[in-house]
């Protein structure tokens, strides 16, 4: 566990308290029903936590990357589904942070301070890992863009007020013709399609978004036309560690529940044998290592240093750890685990899939690993 400043410790404790009061008591219920926790946003208003990434000049909490990770770990500990609600909203606002102008930032960050949430609309039925294969179009007509297309597996889609939608302004240019737009809830032609029933993170709202001749003003373009994929990639780089944080919380929670059960079962003279002890130790080793890798990546980002590789590593490692730890917890604790700890296992699987599958992450990491060292590159250049 890395050493935190008093401020960070206070923020972490506040998040812990919030989660204990508003998330943990409701997690099982909304996992079962698959419904969005109706009072979560209301309860979050006071803390402005959905504005945790919003810069101070716009009234936000302006938390450092590491601090955001601390908060998300607590939310992941309470319920990975509700943690996803927060993470996905921050993800969408990261696009505005990356590419928005001052007016856009003011306009769209402000609702976040009032526990309205955002939604990131990149994925389409034919564009999953191949994110650049999207077919949604944005045609410029006068001082408007008209959007048409379908987005799927969009988190928060049914409850957001602000959507970042990626669409082709230049279909002939393929990936380089994608642009990023803000679409506001309730615009004519912009509707919610099917709600996805998922294996886990069931309290997270996942829907289809349908855009049929949706008119938005040209001022809703984020950055420049054709910059969409660049913005998306930068956004995902920033947001990946959020998944790592949720994963660490999730893993720690399942381990803690496992330990509680072991302590309850082995009372009096009986004590868990070495095998069980070592399996618990292995789980703690992984969770700690995962947390440390995440915090390292966040420190790099906060220091303004390149962190793309570390971001990918932390997302991959932390989610893989969560999957391993939560799976072990279930089988280790027998039918008790199957009944009481199954949610954590179900929640973990998506961490390895969304915001860039762990296979995509490995492409990013291996590219960095196989790239020639900087000195050689300079020598090469000099030699030319």
């Amino acid at each position: 566990m890395s050493i935190l400043s008093p401020e960070q410790q206070a923020i972490k404790q506040a998040a812990k308290d919030f989660v204990a009061k508003h998330i943990i008591p409701f997690a099982a219920q909304y996992d079962k029903s698959g419904e969005f926790h109706p009072y979560l946003l209301e309860a979050s208003k006071e803390s402005k936590i959905f504005g945790m990434a919003v810069p101070k000049e716009y009234g936000g909490l302006d938390y450092s990357a590491l601090t955001q990770a601390l908060v998300l770990e607590e939310w992941g500990y309470g319920c990975a589904g509700m943690g996803t609600t927060l993470a996905a909203s921050v993800l969408s606002m990261d696009s505005v942070l990356v590419a928005g102008n001052d007016e856009q930032k003011r306009r769209y960050f402000t609702p976040m301070l009032n526990a309205e949430i955002g939604s990131f609309g990149l994925t389409e039925p034919g564009a999953g890992s191949d994110a650049g294969a999207g077919k949604t179009t944005a045609v410029k007509v006068g001082n408007e863009y008209i959007l048409n297309g379908t987005k799927c597996w969009i988190t928060n889609g049914g409850f957001a007020s602000v959507y970042v939608i990626y669409a082709l302004t230049d279909p002939a240019a393929g990936m380089k013709g994608i642009s990023a737009f803000i679409v506001e809830r309730g615009l004519p032609g912009f509707t919610i399609g099917t709600v996805d029933h998922k294996l886990g993170i069931r309290s997270s709202n996942t829907v289809e978004l349908l855009l049929k001749d949706v008119h938005i003003p040209v001022t809703n373009l984020l950055g420049k036309e054709g910059e969409g994929m660049k913005i998306a990639m930068k956004t995902l780089d920033m947001a990946r560690p959020a998944i790592a944080a949720l994963s660490v919380g999730l893993a720690q929670r399942s381990l803690d529940e496992c330990v509680k059960h072991v302590q309850k079962t082995f009372t009096g003279k009986s004590y868990p044998g070495q095998t069980l002890q070592f399996k618990l130790a292995d789980m703690q080793i992984l969770v700690d290592a995962a947390r440390n890798s995440l915090h390292e990546a966040m420190r790099l980002r906060d220091a303004g240093l390149p962190y793309s590789k570390e971001s990918a590593i932390s997302k991959t490692f932390c989610s893989d750890v969560a999957m391993q730890v939560t799976t072990t917890a279930v089988s280790l604790m027998g039918t008790y685990g199957y009944i009481e700890l199954g949610k954590y296992m179900r929640d973990s699987k998506i961490m390895q899939i969304y915001e860039g599958t762990n296979q995509i992450q490995r492409l990013v990491i291996s590219r960095a690993v196989l790239a020639p060292p900087p000195a050689a590159a300079v020598a090469q250049k000099a030699g030319n």
């Binding site: 890992s129 069980l276 280790l332 199957y338 009944i339």
Partner: protein
């Protein structure tokens, strides 16, 4: 050494697969949603002799061997692991009665169990660290009329649907598990209370519940095997059960890898089916490999059971293998299907939830590695 199934074993497997396709496939999703015990299907299984597969012909059983049995369980599990679970738990109870019951006990129960008119359950686990230890341990006290049982059994499968339970109680709390004794308990015995059905994340349709015993009086004739002979009986029965459960895991895994492979062949990303990507090939290959090796391992253990040879080590090995790699079969196939592997509109999430319920270490701290190590060191 012949790795091929005999013609009969193959045909039995074929019948089971046809039954699965005809009767299990259409109901599997609904069964998972409602969790309602599939009586019609269980009756159909009985008609095809699946519920009396191992039982001697004298009792109306098919008298097929254990290799045929695991072939059936794997085949059924490809379509509905929940139904396979019902069959497994019933069969282990019947197996126990067949091997340790008196002639009178066998006559009393096995005919009806073979016919499927009487379903079996196996009540071994408790909430304490080991059966026979802890405040809720099921204790059997000698009585004028036989025995009086008090306590609680945990996580009994087929609970509420079974007509007879094989129950393990300790005759001496001071000795705990060492004094474990087996009894045959009819479901309608006074003082037995089947608790509320527990909500499991998968294998829905195979009911699981705690069973409380409150001054349950059993006659001498309910004693199964010797007094304090329960450890030996439960160890052997659970070893047999673990081989059967391994077949369940492999059936689920096989269904998953076939679905994921078919998906990967038609899902086009980056201009090609994802099945052409090495990342996907690795995932599919590992699952197919683990499935294949697990199948060979469990068939080997099944053959030893069938031939009456020592099998406990092999059974522990296959359990150990699948505790480590069983769920991985679904973790990896869900990964192949990405978002589709997470959506309950598709089949893999149900298989994920089902496979997580097989090869559980229900006796906390009781690891198969202990037995394996003891056999070599």
């Amino acid at each position: 050494m012949n790795f091929e199934l005999t013609e009969e074993q193959q045909l039995i497997g074929q019948s089971a697969r046809e039954f699965g396709k005809e009767y299990l496939e259409p109901i599997a999703v609904d069964l998972d949603h409602t969790g309602n015990f599939p009586k019609a299907v269980v009756d159909g299984l009985a008609k095809h002799d699946f519920l009396g597969l191992l039982l001697p012909a004298d009792f109306g059983g098919a008298e097929a061997g254990f290799v045929s049995y695991v072939e059936v369980i794997e085949s059924l599990s490809r379509y509905s692991a929940a139904v396979a679970s019902i069959v497994n738990n019933h069969t282990i109870a019947a197996y126990t009665i067949q091997h340790w019951g008196t002639a009178a006990q066998k006559k009393q129960y096995l005919h009806d169990m073979a016919k499927g008119e009487l379903l079996g359950g196996f009540a071994i686990y408790e909430h304490g660290p080991t059966p026979g230890v802890g405040p809720d341990a099921l204790v059997a006290v000698k009585h004028a009329e036989g025995y009086v049982l008090n306590g609680k059994k945990a996580y009994v499968r087929n609970a509420g649907e079974a007509g007879v339970y094989v129950v393990f109680a300790t005759t001496d709390p001071a000795l705990g598990a060492k004094a474990l004794t087996a009894f045959l308990v009819k479901a309608d015995t006074i003082g037995i209370k089947v608790g509320e059905k527990l909500e499991t994340m998968g294998l829905k349709g195979c009911p699981v519940a705690d069973i409380t015993f409150e001054n349950v009086v059993l006659p001498e004739s309910a004693l199964l095997g010797a007094v304090n002979g329960g450890v030996a009986i439960s160890a052997k029965a659970l070893a047999v059960a673990s081989v059967a459960e391994a077949a369940q895991t492999v059936g689920i895994g096989q269904a998953a890898v076939e679905h994921a492979a078919a998906y990967a062949k038609q899902r086009v990303q980056f201009g090609k089916p994802v099945a052409t990507l090495q990342a996907i090939q690795t995932l599919l290959a590992e699952v197919a490999t683990d499935c294949h090796l697990a199948r060979l391992g469990l068939q080997n253990a099944a053959l030893l059971i069938e031939e009456g040879k020592p099998f406990e080590v092999e059974a522990a090995m296959i359990k150990s293998f699948l505790v480590r790699l069983g769920s991985k079969m679904l973790l990896d196939t869900c990964q192949v299907e990405g978002g589709f592997g997470y959506s309950e509109f598709m089949p893999l999430p149900r298989l994920f939830r089902d496979i997580a319920g097989t090869n559980l270490l229900d006796a906390p701290g009781d690891f198969p590695e202990k037995l394996i190590a003891a056999s070599i060191a």
